[in-house]
Symmetry: C2
Subunit: 206 residues, 2 copies
């Protein structure tokens, strides 16, 4: 029991994020509705405003949390790669990053939809720290590409811009699976196409 059921909740900010995480997991970012979440926590609707500037700020916090979980899942998948020739190993790691990205999206569609730049309002200028906050999953990708260079499997000149090609491919595939035509296909077929897509982009960047 972390709540003190008195006037002051004591741990609201954390529990708001947790409840929002649970809601998003079931039904995506639109399920993060302040009134519903505060109701769950037996707290007035406005209580949330003591911890978040507005709804979007809560969503952002949730997104950050999800990104960490996602990076952890991807990292775990990378660990199960046996050693071998450095270049082959580097390529396998990169492959694991891509398949891990897609795998997380398929395993946790609600979370995935919440994690990255959801379709926001049109008149939005991202505030400031554009280059500062790098999503942990993206960092994994950067590292994998750098390792590929270090292993001599990718030239320095071809290295520049490769991250965008890779991220584009896996992110787009995730969208197609979660909300596009690929959602109609059975799991094994989707897995096949996912591997095809990841392998192709890895081949392509060389």
């Amino acid at each position: 029991m972390s709540s003190k059921d008195s006037y002051h909740h004591g741990n609201l900010r954390a529990e708001l994020i947790e409840a929002a995480l649970a809601a998003a997991r079931r039904s995506g970012p639109d399920a993060i509705v302040l009134r519903s979440i505060t109701r769950q926590l037996r707290v007035s609707p406005n209580a949330a405003y003591r911890h978040f500037a507005d709804r979007q700020a809560l969503i952002d916090a949730v997104a950050e949390s999800i990104q960490s979980k996602m990076a952890a899942a991807m990292h775990e998948r990378m660990l199960s790669i046996e050693a071998g020739p450095p270049d082959e190993r580097a390529r396998a790691q990169l492959r694991a990053v891509g398949l891990g990205y897609i795998g997380f999206a398929r395993a946790e569609p609600g979370w995935f939809d919440t994690a990255f730049f959801g379709v926001r309002d049109g008149s939005e200028t991202v505030t400031g720290d554009l280059s500062a906050r790098v999503p942990p999953p993206f960092e994994l990708l950067i590292d994998a590409l750098d390792a590929l260079v270090a292993a001599g499997a990718l030239s320095q000149t071809r290295r520049v811009g490769a991250e965008w090609a890779c991220w584009s491919a896996v992110h787009g595939f995730a969208q197609l699976v979660l909300h596009g035509p690929l959602s109609a296909l059975d799991d094994t077929t989707v897995t096949m196409f996912a591997e095809r897509t990841v392998d192709d982009i890895i081949t392509g960047i060389h």
Copy 2:
């Protein structure tokens, strides 16, 4: 003047779509709000329900319209490709499809966000015609890939699944540009990375 400013509007369905298109163009799908649009057309909020089952139905109609515009824009870009060796030409066409897709997204971000499977509510099962309605832009991609096979530049076995890899790459890139980190970069740099991504995926599918 297409309106008759009497009790019956006379052309409401079409004008609803048009107004929704204009709103979406400025600020994306969230800007398609029934009350605002019906207000513009000097019509009661419920009037829309005589032509669309609900808000989503209107959005779907708008999306379909945008997809047509998009395919037209992409097609136009393909026309400006001079003749040459069949395989080179086929590859150039495919490249134009990809760059056209991304180009449209950058030129009309609000429309692009509305055109495809926007992040919907979690508890949604797409109703029925999964395989039936193929977005026109996607058809262009299919044709370009088939042409690549016909030109002998892509084997039959490598053909299967190639559309998903290609679509994934360009769609993902569009997301990264519109709502992701790439939005912070200047236009020429983004164009460079777009070309890189498209070229890489085309190389990769072979």
